[in-house]
Each structure stands twice: as structure tokens, then as C-alpha cells.
């Protein structure tokens, strides 16, 4: 019996997480927008702990140069000391809810120093979020510095 108890506990936790559900669409839009603000803020301040919580371990990220990065590579690039992001913030965001999948289409601005040289860019991005193990995680992110 003792051996079964932890298993029952795990199953109950899974059922509760599913029952809690991803939330109503209006609440969800606010929640995901808030997560996006946190994501850009964490990236600007190189807050690896926060980024680790926001992105799924199976993240696929295409950066504005067309480079594909997994989560570990993205965190490593973000941590790099030769890049200082002075400002990184979303401008506009459209949140599209489709069951337990949310797509955010928007633009952001970024300004900073790379190897001592100042840079700035405006990018369009698409992020995909899913309800995973009782919370929202970003599973894919893509950006392009060509905005028309």
C-alpha cells in the first residue's frame, strides 16, 4: 500500500492540474501579455533564472539573424558578456488563443552594445505558448528584423 501512495499522489496532482485548466480567454490574454513583458525584461537584464522558468526545455528559437537555438544555447547567448542590452521592450502584441495553445504576434525594440559597438533594431516576433504541467511555457519563438 505504501508503495502505491506516492503514485496515487502523482496521479491526483496531474488530475488537479488538468482540472485547474488554462483559464478563460480574457484572463489568459492578460496572463500571456504579462509573461511576454517578463520575458523581454528578463532578457534585457540577463535574468537566466527567470528565462529558465518562461521557456520550455524543448524550446526552438529562431533569432533575428535566422540562427536556430535550443534553450541551452539561447541562455548561453543571453549570458554572453560582450552583449549589453540597454532596452528591450515589446511595442505591440496580438494574443490569439486556441484552446491550450496561444500565439503572440508582435513587434519589439532592442537597443544595446555588442562588442563595444552600439546597435538598435526593431523586430517582429511570433511566440507560441502551451499549457504544460500546470503552467504556461513558451515552446517556440521566432523573430525577424525585417519589419514592413
Amino acid at each position: 500500500m505504501k508503495a502505491v501512495m506516492p503514485l496515487l499522489g502523482m496521479m491526483c496532482a496531474a488530475v488537479l492540474a488538468v482540472a485547474q485548466g488554462p483559464g478563460r480567454d480574457s484572463d489568459l490574454t492578460i496572463k500571456i501579455r504579462s509573461l511576454e513583458f517578463s520575458r523581454f525584461n528578463a532578457e534585457q537584464h540577463k535574468d537566466i533564472g527567470a528565462l529558465n522558468q518562461i521557456f520550455d526545455d524543448g524550446l526552438m528559437l529562431a533569432d533575428p539573424n535566422g540562427l536556430l537555438l535550443n534553450k541551452a544555447q539561447f541562455l548561453s547567448v543571453t549570458r554572453a558578456p560582450d552583449i549589453t542590452i540597454l532596452r528591450m521592450a515589446p511595442e505591440e502584441m496580438a494574443v490569439r488563443v486556441s484552446g491550450d495553445v496561444v500565439t503572440v504576434v508582435g513587434t519589439y525594440v532592442e537597443r544595446g552594445m555588442r562588442a563595444g559597438i552600439p546597435y538598435s533594431r526593431r523586430c517582429r516576433f511570433i511566440d507560441t505558448w502551451t499549457w504544460t504541467r500546470g503552467r504556461w511555457l513558451c515552446i517556440a519563438s521566432t523573430a525577424s528584423s525585417t519589419v514592413r
Partner: protein, 144 residues
């Protein structure tokens, strides 16, 4: 301890194996649809593209244009023929969502001038009523 471990394996191994098989099936189906998308875009098969794209699809063209499904279909009809090839394609399943990425090469002629573009695409697919549809797609130009 061995009994507990055996019980755990007995209970969860079939579930895990079934889940892994579902993931592989989903990724395989979506990869087939990606190839179909490429050939449909090349042959301007609007009917096929209509079934592949979700009504709410967000599409960002390699030139930076944000387009709706209707705009993508209209654009496909209007543009001059394009040769499309894909490489380094990979898919990753997250339950009822599959993310696909790869490198796309577009070759065509515009305004009498030939062009070749290379871009990284990243597409998100969801399952709706047993069919997989693309809900978002962005291609980022690969800088030399």
C-alpha cells in the same frame, strides 16, 4: 525497493511508450504536410494551401510582411513562379502542437531580375478535429 521500481515501470511504461508513438506520428504527419505546402506553393495549388492553413493563421513573409491567410493565398496566386527547396528540417511535438523549423531556399524572377533568398522558417501546427493545420509561420532571412 526493487518491487516499487518494478511496479512503477509496469504501470507507466505502456503509457510512456504510447505517448512516444503519438509524438512520432504527429511529427511525421506534420512533416508530410510541410512538404505538401512546399509543392502546393510552387504549383500555386490554392485549394491545397486552403486546407493546410488555419483560418486564423499569422504569417510573416521573408520580406517582413505580416499577412493573414487570405493575404497569403492571394499573394501566392499573384506572384511569379518560385522554386522552393527545404533543408535541415526538424519537428518537435508538444502534445497537440508541433513546431517545425528548417532552412528554405527561394529562387525566382521578379521584375525581370533573378533572385535567390535563404531563410529560417519556424511553423506551429495544431490538431483540429483529427487534422493538422498551421497556425503561425515566420521566415527570417539568413544573413550572410
Amino acid at each position: 525497493m526493487k518491487t516499487k521500481l518494478s511496479l512503477f515501470i509496469l504501470l507507466f511504461a505502456p503509457v510512456w511508450l504510447a505517448h512516444a508513438q503519438v509524438q512520432v506520428d504527429a511529427e511525421s504527419k506534420v512533416m508530410t504536410l510541410e512538404r505538401l505546402w512546399g509543392s502546393a506553393a510552387q504549383s500555386r495549388d490554392i485549394k491545397a494551401l486552403d486546407t493546410i492553413f488555419d483560418a486564423s493563421m499569422a504569417y510573416v513573409h521573408i520580406d517582413g510582411r505580416l499577412m493573414s491567410k487570405a493575404e497569403v493565398l492571394a499573394d501566392t496566386k499573384a506572384v511569379s513562379p518560385v522554386e522552393i527547396s527545404m533543408a535541415s528540417t526538424q519537428a518537435h511535438s508538444h502534445g497537440n502542437v508541433v513546431i517545425v523549423t528548417g532552412v528554405m531556399r527561394l529562387k525566382g524572377v521578379q521584375g525581370g531580375k533573378p533572385y535567390v533568398l535563404r531563410g529560417r522558417f519556424l511553423d506551429a501546427w495544431v490538431e483540429r478535429g483529427g487534422n493538422w493545420v498551421c497556425i503561425s509561420s515566420m521566415t527570417t532571412a539568413i544573413k550572410p
